[in-house]
């Protein structure tokens, strides 16, 4: 009877553990609700679907906050047969992920297709985003390679579909490219995982001992295995050398989806990577060299290539590659202040990025009426006098990404440099000092391309015919309010960074 007992105990533990998955349950219910509602409602009820979507996200957010509060005073634990791990660290990342998704939800009504009510009436758009979010939630908690792979694939598959949502030739091409790249890197990662399993005999990576085990195996072999494994992670991060897909995909996918991609999967994967960083014994410099090299290469590629772009979405794609490099530079060492800076940087980057993509869509709608290429930068010529608020907001978003005070991006950059300096001090490795100098230098380079659009809007005279003043619609007011709120957030968080930092400080790093 013993085996039977074990199964019962196991099932009981699963049942008990499922209470810990409350936020994920809420997301699943949202997913199903949207699925059913999509079949039920008339195609014109797009706002209803949207409200259901946003409502589900808000509910998830609330449940996640509750989980964060209970976590910070009670427990950190493995659950679901040691597949997942629950602690303040993971829950904070989840909170960030759902926050970013909620922002995406607010961006969706601005996209030209939503406004035109053509080609859009598909509930899939909403519930695929929810699916990505579920995947991201699981990645942030994953402690088991199988779980990690499944969650990552959930993100990937939903993403492939989302990229194609403009339903034109370009979008289809982008989607296909994405699938090919994605499948390739997934396969590489899977191969890496199988090697890792062969080397260590376990898929359970959720313990610091695992790191020591892996370093006892033959050097060349475990380097090979880890590099293959890294492929999948770097693909999601859009980091060198797996960044090639980014510009094409960003150009062809709908802007809200792009904004979502530039934040959510990256943050989820970073959570996983950071846990590794915090397990590495601080004397072990292999991690610093490997991550440092990728960070530097990613920064260089992103920031240097961005300058030559003449399409705003491609420019933002390269910018996000560059920013991923900066983010990776904070994962060099797994200290608690690295985590604080990383999260602060992520939040600051996301707000600015979402604002930028919201504006890209607002302007695209504005230009789109007589323009074949609504995303070309030259469209922005002299638009500052016509759309003053939006142009200033664009400037603010770009300056925040470039890290100019008094915007929150500057605080984030300050924390990034401080962290690198402190890490240099900690490890006494000149390599980190060079990364610091390089990242400072690249922020200067970055200013060149971040000012490309403001240069067009404010410095050049308007040449194309400006559409006649239309009566402002609901969408215009909505756009203005959203832009105003996000711009103010950039300013306010500079003057009062404690609003975010106080929450980050509650994270206890296991």
């Amino acid at each position: 009877m013993k085996p039977h007992n074990e199964v019962v105990v196991f099932l009981q533990s699963l049942y008990k553990d499922s209470a810990l998955l409350m936020p994920e349950w809420v997301l699943c219910i949202t997913f199903l609700g949207l699925f059913v509602a999509d079949l039920w409602f008339k195609k014109q009820r797009i706002w209803l679907l949207w409200s259901l979507f946003a409502g589900g996200l808000v509910a998830t957010m609330i449940v996640t906050i509750l989980q964060f509060n209970s976590c910070s005073c009670q427990f950190e634990q493995f659950f679901f047969a040691k597949m997942l791990y629950l602690d303040t660290f993971g829950v904070f990342f989840k909170l960030f992920l759902v926050g970013a998704t909620l922002l995406t939800a607010f961006l969706i009504p601005l996209s030209p297709t939503f406004r035109a009510k053509e080609n859009f009436f598909r509930g899939e758009y909403f519930y695929l985003i929810v699916a990505v979010l579920i995947g991201a939630y699981l990645v942030a908690m994953a402690q088991h390679l199988l779980m990690f792979y499944l969650a990552l694939e959930l993100i990937s598959i939903a993403s492939y579909l989302l990229v194609g949502f403009n339903f034109d030739k370009k979008s289809a091409e982008g989607s296909l490219k994405y699938i090919l790249f994605g499948a390739f890197s997934s396969a590489m990662m899977l191969y890496g995982m199988s090697l890792l399993y062969g080397l260590t005999g376990t898929l359970q990576v959720g313990e610091p001992q695992w790191i020591t085990t892996i370093f006892k195996t033959p050097t060349l072999l475990h380097y090979l295995a880890l590099s293959f494994f890294a492929a999948g992670i770097l693909f999601k991060l859009a980091a060198f050398p797996f960044h090639f897909w980014t510009p094409d995909i960003y150009e062809s996918a709908p802007s809200p989806v792009v904004a979502f991609f530039s934040v959510v999967p990256k943050a989820a994967v970073l959570a996983f990577v950071f846990r590794w960083a915090s397990w590495f014994p601080s004397g072990q410099l292999e991690w610093v060299y490997a991550v440092g090299f990728i960070a530097v290469a990613t920064m260089l590629v992103g920031n240097l290539a961005a300058f030559w772009q003449d399409n705003i979405k491609r420019l933002l794609a390269y910018s996000s590659i560059g920013q991923a490099g900066f983010l990776l530079a904070m994962v060099l060492v797994g200290k608690d202040f690295n985590l604080s800076s990383l999260l602060f940087y992520l939040i600051s980057y996301s707000i600015a990025n979402f604002l930028a993509f919201a504006l890209v869509d607002i302007f695209a709608h504005f230009f789109g009426q007589q323009n074949e290429m609504p995303y070309a930068i030259e469209n922005y010529k002299g638009i500052g006098t016509v759309k003053g608020l939006e142009s200033v907001a664009f400037l603010l978003a770009m300056l925040s990404l470039a890290g100019i005070p008094p915007l929150v991006g500057f605080s984030a950059k300050l924390l990034l440099y401080s962290t690198l300096w402190e890490n240099y001090h900690l490890l006494a490795s000149q390599w980190i000092l060079w990364i610091l100098f390089l990242s400072v230098f690249l922020s200067l380079v970055a200013l060149f391309y971040y000012l490309k659009v403001p240069y067009q809007t404010f410095f050049l005279p308007n040449t194309s015919a400006i559409p006649l003043e239309r009566p402002s619609t609901f969408y215009d007011v909505y756009a203005k309010v959203l832009v105003l709120i996000l711009s103010l957030a950039l300013l306010v968080l500079f003057f009062a960074p404690n609003i975010i930092m106080a929450a980050i400080q509650q994270i206890k790093l296991g």
Binding site: F337, P406, F448
Partner: protein, 564 residues
Amino acid sequence: MDSYILSLLIFLPLTAVFFVILLPQKWASSSKYITLVTMSIELLLSGVLYVGFDTQITTLQAVTRLPWIDLEMGSLGALQINYYVGIDGINIGLVLLSGIILWVGSVASWNIAHHQKGYFALYLLMSSSVIGCFVAFDFFLFYLFFEFMLLPMYFLIGIWGGEKSGYASIKFLIYTLAGSLAILIVIIMLYLSVVDLPQTALRAGILQQSNTTLSENQKITLLRQINTQTIDPKHIVHSFDIRQMMQKENYLLYASLHPNQNPLIFSGFSLREVAFLLLLIGFLVKLPAVPLHTWLPDAHVEAPTPISVVLAGILLKIGGYGIIRFAYCIFPTEALSFGNLVAGLGVLSILYGAMNALAMTDLKKMIAYSSVSHMGFVLVGIASATQEGVNGALFQMFSHGLLSSMLFLLAGVIYDRTHDRTIAHYSGLFSQMPYYTTFVMIAFFASLGLPGFSGFIGEFFVLLGGFRSIHIQTYWSVWAVIGIVLGAVYFLWTLQKMFFGKFWTKESTTNAPLLEDINTREWVLLLFLSVLTLALGIFPTWFFSSSAQGVIQFLEILGTSSAP
């Protein structure tokens, strides 16, 4: 003295920005009145501040120190940023100068025709951050103003400037931002090395109340705890306060910027030397010194007249001020050891600037290079580290502020009338514009160092300090004298070519009736500045009395006050 005046100086223009922005479009032209009124109040306030300044004491005056950002960073400790402003002998003159120049600039902006709201909003933003730069005693606060100033300037040059203003403004932005990023690195090194002892004591429980000061015993206990790392790292409060950065005891013993630690990195330079050089580079870009000056002529040529006035009159001074206040005060030993480098760069700027000015065909470019040349004296004065030299450097900054504004106003006068600034296209202007020529003569002679005007006093004291200094070689001063001679050459030459002789202008340039003499508004500005430069030239003690104590304290920090 009432301490709120400084905050008023900073926040008044900021408040005015909102009024300008909220102005309905049909009243856009009244934004210049708002600006003028604001700037007049600023001028008045800075005057009140100057008159009320106690010249006998060395302590900081009109101080406001309020906690602003207090960021917990886990085991890194906390990061404390204060709103900390005040004045002493070093910056009081510069605050007054900003009051004067910004007022002059606002009057000179009267003719701005398009996008008035935007122009004046940016002008006010810039004014606020310029003054903030001079009075901030918290490095973060300073940096905030320092970097924020670039953006309004970028747009003011780029949008309201000449044909190639896009290029000029981005060049200005990139150069200055490169400099300020160098400063940012040093700020990060510094604040992570420096501890705010009273705040740390408060967190560690050694002090109970925030308003009490640390007793000697408590301080010793605390320092022992910090330096043996027995204190909880969360309790350590890192400080951006530059007064604390100047004291050795506030440095963490294990920090690499500690004056006693000083590990060697980068082929023989110690980290403190690297930090000093980075600060120096950051401020030299702003000053600007050769070879980091190339943004200046472009920016000046493309900028509208009032922006040139402000740029030359007050923005360049931030470079000199920053070297004195930050680079020298925080790294005194390193600064003295690099004395010859600083003086050498100063002399290079003097000579190279003067030679370039000689070769320029564009009047505004000639004046821009003369600025480079004159600001070189500031470097020589600072590097001499003597009482005469540093006083002279401060005086030179004040005097050059007045004179360069005047020169750019004068260049603007001719440009307004003919849209041509080529020196060779004019001759004998005296017969057409006698008053204009008179003011040009005053400005030129004052700039080339004619005794009786302020320019002479500044350069004279700098050279006096330079010849007596034991920290720099004497030949630097000799070369600087040659620079004065070159200065006389290009000013007199230009005067002779443009204003004397038979009246002639290039036909394509203009026809004679357009060349009206200066109008009332220009009269007021030029007379105001001429009287000031003359008064300072005759009674230099007006300035020196306020700067004396500040300079004595500065030399004490450098450890050179005992020198005769």
